[in-house]
C-alpha cells in the first residue's frame, strides 16, 4: 500500500528518470543533460495550453451553472471538445491588423505575453521533486518575470493605435504596478517563516504532521493569503479587477484590435497566469503539494483548481471596480495591511502560540477597524427611502 502510494506520488519523476537512464546507456552525458531540460520544457509547453483550454471550459461551465444554464455541452460529452473547436475557430479566423498599427510590435505583443506566462511555470512546484528548476531565488524569479507581463500589454495597447486600447493599456500599467507591491509584501511572511526564496523549500517548511502545517492556519497566514489572492486576481486581470479589458467600458481594452490566433494568445497568457498565480498562492500559504494520503501532485492541482474556482466565482458575482477605487484599495487598504502583517509575522517568531494568536487577532482587528474607518469610500452609505403618496 505504502509502495503503491509513493509510486503514484513519484510517477512523473520516475518516468523522467527512466527515460534519462535509457538515453544515458547509449548517448553522451551532455545530450542527457540537454534531454532533461527538454523533457521538463516540453512538459511545461504542453501543460500550459492544455491548462488554458480546459480552464476556459471550466470557467464557462461554472459560470453557466451559477447563472442557471448549462454552459457549453454540444461538442463532445459535457462539451469536453469545446476548447478544441474554439481553437480551430481561432486558427481559421482572419488576422486583422489595423491600417495604422505598428505592424511589428502589434505582432510581437501577443507572443511576448505568452513567454513570461510560460516562464513562471518553471518555478512552480507541481509535486514532490516536480519543480522544473528549483531556483534558490524561486520567488524573486516569479516576481521578476511576472513584472515583465506589463510590457507586452503596453506594446499591444500602443501599437494598435486605438483609443480604447490606449486607455486599457494605461489602466493595466497603473493596476499591475500597484498590485505588485501588496502582492510581494503579502508573500513576505511566508518567506520569512521558511527563510528561503526557493518555492520548494517554502513548501517543505509547511510539512508538519500529515503535511498539514500550512501557513494559512496562522493569523498572518490567513491575512497574507487573502491579500495575496486578491492581488493575484488583480494581476491576471480577472474580475472584479478586470479594468484593463472592461468589456462594458473599453470594449476589450488592450486587445481590442486583435483577432484570431493573436487574440487567443492573450487569452492563453491570461489563463496561464491565473493558473500559475493560483499555484504560487497555494505554494506560499496552502502548503503547495503537502497534504495527507493523496499523491503530492493531486494535492497541488486540487488546491490550485480550488483557487481558480474561487476566481471564477468572483467573476460570476461581482461588478467591476472603478479605477480610482482600485488604486485606493491597493494603496490605502491592502498595503498597510500587509505591512502590519509582516510586523506580526516577526512577532510570531518570538512568542508562544496561544498568546500569539490572541495578540495577532487583536492587532489585525484594530488595523482592519482603522483602515475601514480611514477609507470611508469603501463603506456603503445607509439609505432610507421615502414612500410618498
Amino acid at each position: 500500500m505504502e509502495n503503491i502510494g509513493s509510486f503514484i506520488d513519484m510517477i512523473f519523476v520516475t518516468a523522467k528518470a527512466w527515460i534519462l537512464a535509457l538515453l544515458g546507456q547509449f548517448l553522451p552525458v551532455w545530450i542527457v543533460v540537454l534531454a532533461s531540460i527538454v523533457i521538463s520544457g516540453v512538459a511545461i509547453l504542453c501543460l500550459g495550453p492544455v491548462i488554458m483550454m480546459y480552464l476556459t471550459l471550466l470557467e464557462r461551465k461554472v459560470i453557466g451553472r451559477i447563472q442557471n444554464r448549462y454552459g457549453p455541452n454540444r461538442v463532445g460529452i459535457w462539451g469536453l471538445l469545446q476548447p478544441i473547436a474554439d481553437g480551430i475557430k481561432m486558427f481559421t479566423k482572419e488576422d486583422i491588423v489595423p491600417a495604422n498599427a505598428d505592424k511589428l510590435i502589434h505582432l510581437l505583443a501577443p507572443i511576448m505575453t505568452v513567454v513570461p506566462a510560460l516562464m513562471i511555470f518553471v518555478v512552480v512546484p507541481f509535486g514532490r521533486q516536480m519543480t522544473a528548476a528549483d531556483l534558490n531565488i524561486g520567488f524573486l524569479y516569479f516576481i521578476a518575470v511576472s513584472s515583465i507581463t506589463i510590457l507586452p500589454i503596453f506594446m499591444a495597447s500602443w501599437s494598435s493605435r486605438n483609443k480604447y486600447s490606449l486607455l486599457g493599456g494605461m489602466r493595466t500599467a497603473a493596476q499591475l504596478i500597484s498590485y505588485e507591491v501588496p502582492m510581494t509584501l503579502a508573500a513576505v511572511p511566508a518567506i520569512m517563516m521558511s527563510q528561503s526564496l526557493s518555492t520548494n523549500t517554502i513548501v517543505l517548511t509547511q510539512a508538519g504532521s500529515f503535511g498539514l502545517n500550512w501557513f494559512i492556519f496562522t493569523p498572518w497566514g490567513i491575512v497574507g493569503f487573502i491579500v495575496f489572492f486578491l492581488c493575484a486576481t488583480a494581476e491576471c486581470n480577472r474580475p472584479p479587477f478586470d479594468l484593463p479589458e472592461a468589456e462594458s467600458e473599453l470594449v476589450a481594452g488592450f486587445h481590442t484590435e486583435y483577432s484570431g490566433m493573436k487574440f487567443a494568445l492573450f487569452y492563453m497568457a491570461e489563463y496561464m497566469n491565473a493558473f500559475t498565480l493560483c499555484g504560487i498562492a497555494a505554494t506560499l500559504f496552502l502548503g503547495g503539494w503537502q497534504g495527507p494520503f493523496l499523491p503530492s501532485w493531486v494535492w497541488f492541482f486540487g488546491k490550485t483548481l480550488a483557487l481558480i474556482c474561487i476566481m471564477i466565482w468572483f467573476r460570476g458575482t461581482f461588478p467591476r471596480f472603478r479605477v480610482d477605487h482600485l488604486m485606493a484599495f491597493a494603496w490605502k487598504f491592502l498595503l498597510p495591511l500587509t505591512l502590519v502583517n509582516i510586523l506580526l509575522t516577526a512577532l510570531w517568531q518570538f512568542t508562544s502560540a496561544s498568546a500569539a494568536w490572541l495578540f495577532s487577532i487583536m492587532i489585525l482587528a484594530a488595523m482592519l477597524y482603522m483602515l475601514v474607518k480611514l477609507n470611508r469610500v469603501f463603506v456603503p452609505e445607509k439609505r432610507n427611502y421615502v414612500l410618498a403618496d
Binding site: V33, I143, S147, L151
Partner: protein, 174 residues
C-alpha cells in the same frame, strides 16, 4: 560536456551582441516607444549576463526593478503624453560634442574602477557574496548605514512626489 560549455559560451556572446544591438537601437530609433522597448530588451539581456555570472539574485532584481519598474514608468510617461507617442524625434542635437567628451571621461573612470576592484573569483567566494543570504547579511550588517540612509532618501523623494502631485489637484468628490 565540452560541447555544452561551448554552447553556453556561444550563448553568452550572443546575448552580449544582442545587448549591443538593442543599445544601438535605443540611441538610433526615432520613435520614442521603440527606443523604450529596445532599452527593455537590453536590460533583460543584462540580466541574462548576470545569470551567466551566477548572480541570480542580481538578475532577478535587475528585471524586477529596471524592466518591471523603470521601463514601465518610462513607457507610461510616453503614453501619458499622447502627442509624443506617434511622433518621431531626432536623436542627436547640437550638444553632441560635449556629450562625447563627457561620455569618454565617464567610461574611462568606469574602466579604471573595474580594473581596481578586487573581484572575488573563486566559486565559494562568489556564492557567499551573491546569494540572497550573503546579500542580506551584507545589507543588514556591513552596509546597514548606507542602506538606511538610502531608504530615508527614497522616503523623502516619495513624500516630495506626493506633495508636488497633490498641489494643484482640485477637491474631488469621493
Amino acid at each position: 560536456m565540452e560541447l555544452l560549455q561551448l554552447g553556453a559560451k556561444f550563448g553568452i556572446y550572443a546575448v552580449m551582441a544582442a545587448i549591443l544591438v538593442f543599445a544601438l537601437g535605443v540611441v538610433t530609433f526615432r520613435n520614442l516607444f521603440h527606443c523604450a522597448l529596445c532599452l527593455a530588451a537590453a536590460l533583460i539581456g543584462t540580466a541574462g549576463i548576470y545569470i551567466a555570472l551566477q548572480a541570480e539574485f542580481l538578475a532577478g532584481v535587475q528585471i524586477l526593478l529596471y524592466v518591471g519598474g523603470v521601463i514601465t514608468l518610462v513607457v507610461f510617461a510616453i503614453m501619458l503624453t499622447e502627442h509624443l507617442a506617434g511622433k518621431t524625434v531626432r536623436q542627436n542635437n547640437a550638444q553632441s560634442l560635449p556629450a562625447i567628451v563627457g561620455l569618454a571621461g565617464f567610461v574611462t573612470a568606469l574602466i579604471a574602477l573595474i580594473l581596481k576592484t578586487p573581484w572575488p573569483v573563486t566559486e565559494a567566494a562568489l556564492k557567499a557574496k551573491t546569494s540572497a543570504m550573503g546579500l542580506g547579511e551584507a545589507l543588514m550588517g556591513t552596509y546597514v548605514f548606507p542602506f538606511e540612509v538610502i531608504s530615508i532618501v527614497l522616503l523623502a523623494a516619495l513624500i516630495g512626489t506626493v506633495v508636488i502631485a497633490k498641489k494643484d489637484a482640485p477637491e474631488e468628490r469621493p
